[in-house]
């Protein structure tokens, strides 16, 4: 399935045989792009961004489904080092965010460093050469430092529904939307009620004949205060960047207050729960539908969704919410466990992403030949969500325990960028060819995450979510105030790393 995206006017570069590079970055979403921009800002040129798609943007390039938008205000959900005074709305849609990423990439001169169509198939550490050997669908290369910014919301998760393959109509995942497929007049099944479904259903409901939402767990939904940004405000932001910075700071502080309730004192979540309940009761009159949409777990345990049109859409005359659970898919229908068969033309899988078992982890092998996935089989362990013992010169962006559900992911990414850049600087300053964290550092970081996760709403709120791995451990979320993560990653914790100096007479600089 390909979307109807227009090809990017920007062209990247190509790999040359035997190419060696200082830093290879996997992915060009907010994380990979952010690193590339920061490297360019420091005058670096010895780096490449390996991108499997045909343009930068990552999640925001891929998620083109109708209604796709960000749940965090744009003033906050953008690079601090690339402010955009022209955001059209409080919450921007996918096209605006993608345009911002493209424009920022172009302005920063990172397109010439991007290799498009280069999906990393395997990357292994060559301990003799002290290099990463990276193979991609666009060729091979050697890198002194490898940064994986492949992201957590990158690879669609497909539900294991019997018969799905036999469906005669169209099946599409929200993250692989087929814009050419016209849903007008169709009977559409939407599987899932997460952040994507809550945006898709209101967007398609007016045009389809009927929309059936197959729900496993209802989400808590709060109102979305979305407004156009006035031209006056935009003028002010353009002339007075400090004003936009102040707005950004205020939004950050307001969102950070949620952590008090989610991770510290649960009773502080009660008003948020009351707000969500009033939102539901104000928008849904039907008692049976209201009951089906009422969550039975503490608000915040799963991601809180924000929408003003989700409840009206599922209460529409042509909508239905089904809680019975899908038993199987037949060529022209969806069958639920209660023995009801609903004729269906198109199935939309709004089933999210493979988050706790990252596909890229299966493709990166460390010093002893084992992949990250194998090493992490018993649970993901890292130092500061960024480095892994046995994987020298590898940095993870948006890796384990860096996720946030309450605020801007870009804030966390920028915290990580500072850490990676300081590591590169340290390698250059100390003339190190290899930098590797220790198992002890990982263990104490694991304990820190476990201790901070204890008692949080994500572990004890009475829900299952993509925040937890199959062992029930929080491996996805940063379980504390995000400014604490920033403090922890401001500089490289040099004491937790072993460095190997470059042999005399070689050129050890690593993009610093």
């Amino acid at each position: 399935m390909t979307s109807a995206r227009t090809p990017s006017p920007q062209v990247g570069t190509r790999l040359t045989p035997g190419q060696e590079v200082g830093v290879a970055v996997i992915g060009s979403g907010f994380a990979g792009l952010g690193l590339a921009i920061r490297l360019r800002q420091r005058g670096e040129t010895d780096f490449l961004v390996l991108e499997r798609g045909d343009d930068v943007g990552g999640t925001w390039r891929d998620n083109t489904y109708p209604g796709a938008a960000c749940d965090v205000q744009s003033h906050l959900y953008s690079f601090s080092f690339a402010p955009n005074p022209d955001w059209p709305r409080t919450y921007s849609g996918q096209p605006e965010i993608q345009a911002y990423l493209q424009a920022t990439a172009a302005r920063s001169g990172v397109y010439p460093h991007c290799v498009f169509g280069a999906e990393v198939t395997d990357a292994r550490w060559d301990d003799d050469a002290r290099r990463w050997r990276v193979r991609t669908t666009a060729g091979e290369l050697t890198a002194r430092v490898l940064v994986t910014a492949a992201g957590a919301l990158a690879d669609p998760a497909y539900p294991d529904i019997p018969g799905l393959g036999s469906f005669a109509g169209t099946v599409m995942h929200s993250a692989r939307w087929n814009g050419d497929h016209d849903l007008t007049g169709e009977r559409v099944a939407v599987v899932g009620t997460g952040a994507s479904a809550v945006q898709i259903v209101p967007a398609i409901q007016p045009q389809v004949a009927a929309v059936t939402v197959y729900q496993r767990t209802p989400a808590w939904v709060v109102p979305r205060g979305d407004r156009p940004v006035s031209s006056t405000a935009r003028r002010i932001y353009r002339r007075l960047p400090a004003a936009q910075k102040a707005v950004r700071g205020a939004l950050y502080a307001a969102r950070e207050a949620l952590v008090l309730g989610m991770a510290k004192r649960r009773e502080l979540l009660a008003p948020v729960g009351r707000m969500a309940r009033a939102h539901l009761e104000g928008q849904v009159r039907d008692p049976q539908l209201r009951a089906a949409l009422t969550p039975d777990y503490t608000i915040g345990c799963k991601r809180i969704l924000i929408s003003n049109d989700w409840y009206p859409a599922v209460s529409a005359p042509n909508a239905e919410v089904v809680t019975a659970g899908i038993a199987e898919v037949r060529p022209h229908s969806v069958v639920t466990r209660d023995g009801v068969e609903r004729p269906t033309d198109t199935i939309v899988l709004a089933t999210g992403f493979a988050v706790t078992d990252l596909p890229i982890a299966h493709r990166i092998a460390g010093r002893d030949g084992r992949t990250l996935a194998e090493v992490w089989d018993a649970g993901m362990v890292t130092n500061r969500g960024c480095t892994v013992a046995g994987f020298p010169n590898l940095f993870l962006l948006v890796g384990p325990n860096v996720g946030v559900g309450h605020t801007s992911m870009v804030y966390m990414i920028e915290s990580q960028l500072a850490y990676v850049l300081d590591a590169l600087r340290t390698m250059a300053d100390e003339r190190l060819e290899v930098l590797e964290t220790t198992p002890q550092a990982q263990e104490s970081y694991r304990q820190l995450i476990a201790a901070r996760s204890q008692g949080t709403v994500w572990l004890t709120g009475g829900c299952g979510s993509w925040y937890l791995d199959r062992h029930g451990h929080n491996t996805t979320l940063w379980p504390d105030f995000t400014f604490r993560f920033r403090r922890l990653t401001r500089r490289l914790d040099r004491e937790n790393y072993l460095g190997t100096p470059a042999p005399a007479g070689t050129r050890p600089e690593v993009a610093a």
Binding site: R187, A209, A210, T212, R285, D286, P287, Q288, S315, A316, P317, N318, A319, E320, A327, S333, V335, G339, V340, E341, R342, P343
Partner: protein, 311 residues
């Protein structure tokens, strides 16, 4: 898995732009379709108990079942027609038939205002009665004269004040909604009131609560604009079309909204109609006696698919 039940939600568009939320269950090839119309300030959920009684017939493919929310009720929207009338609901029902049961024999069941809806359909589309509509169940309903001529000074005063009060309720809809929320269906006083108004001696608390919840979900507007429409409903002279098909008339002996005399009047005008007065029941027979209502419907359904001539 054993026999599956087909189910789909359909938004039926009326000529004036209303969208009616309909639920269609059963196989398209079933020999007969039953369409159920609910009462004032209720929704299709009021038929749930009757539908459960009929579910086995739906599962075996003997019956298609269509339930829908009347305009302004449940999930259905309002059209542009103002003021609304029961005649308009009759037109809505023809739209539901055209969209959800375009061919084949049909049996109609109406509770309270839903019964009046069927009478209006029969009066304005007599051509449908017989060829398409093969039987009608009229439950707790009336052909007219619901708002009686006031006799006492108090009743006269009430009649004088009613339009103003309704207009006030409409204009202050938000306030009224907020006041309604002060006494939710979970409140004992709320349930006592609903029981006293609508239910008979045998009604269980759970039954009353469920009915109260459905009514609580309806809007002030649905209450206010259909109240005068119900008063204006008068099909005592328009029932002749229904003399050609089997009709079952059911009413609770303790019905206070459409008392037994209304059903007796129906039975008089429709001499072949079967009248059943159920003791210890009020105005909510589809909830209070779902088996009784389902039995009446089944009799009609059986006759509807009998070879012609049996009628």
């Amino acid at each position: 898995m054993t026999a599956l039940v087909q189910r789909q939600v359909v938004a039926v568009r009326t000529p004036d732009g209303a969208q009616l939320h309909a639920t269609v269950e059963g196989d398209d090839s079933a020999p007969v379709t039953l369409v159920l119309a609910h009462g004032w300030t209720l929704a299709q959920g009021a038929w749930d108990d009757v539908a459960a009684e009929l579910a086995p017939s739906v599962a075996t493919g003997e019956l298609r079942l269509v339930r829908y929310d009347q305009r302004g009720h449940g999930r259905s929207t309002w059209g542009t027609t103002e003021p609304v009338s029961i005649d308009l609901l009759g037109e809505d029902l023809t739209a539901v038939l055209a969209r959800c049961a375009p061919t084949g024999p049909v049996v109609l069941g109406g509770h309270s205002m839903g019964g009046m809806t069927i009478m209006c359909l029969a009066a304005h589309h007599p051509e449908l009665i017989g060829p398409r509509v093969r039987g009608v169940a009229l439950v707790d309903t009336s052909a007219g004269e619901l708002h009686r001529t006031p006799r006492t000074a108090a009743q006269r005063l009430q009649q004088r004040l009613e339009p103003g009060l309704l207009a006030l309720a409409l204009n202050r809809g938000r306030l009224v909604e907020r006041l309604r929320r002060l006494s939710p269906p979970s409140a004992r006083a709320h349930q006592r009131f609903v029981r006293g108004l609508l239910y008979g001696a045998d009604a269980s608390d759970a039954m009353v609560r469920r009915g109260a919840e459905i009514m609580h979900a309806s809007s002030v507007r649905a209450f206010a604009v259909f109240y005068p429409a119900l008063g204006a409903h008068d099909q005592r002279d328009g029932l002749s079309a229904l003399t050609t098909v089997p009709v079952e008339v059911l009413v609770g002996a303790e019905d206070r909204l459409t008392p037994v005399r209304h059903s007796r009047q129906l039975a008089e005008v429709l001499p072949d109609a079967v009248l059943h007065v159920e003791p210890r029941c009020g105005h909510m027979l589809p909830q209070e006696r779902p088996a009784l209502v389902a039995d009446a419907l089944r009799r009609l359904l059986t006759r509807a698919v009998e070879p012609s001539g049996a009628r």
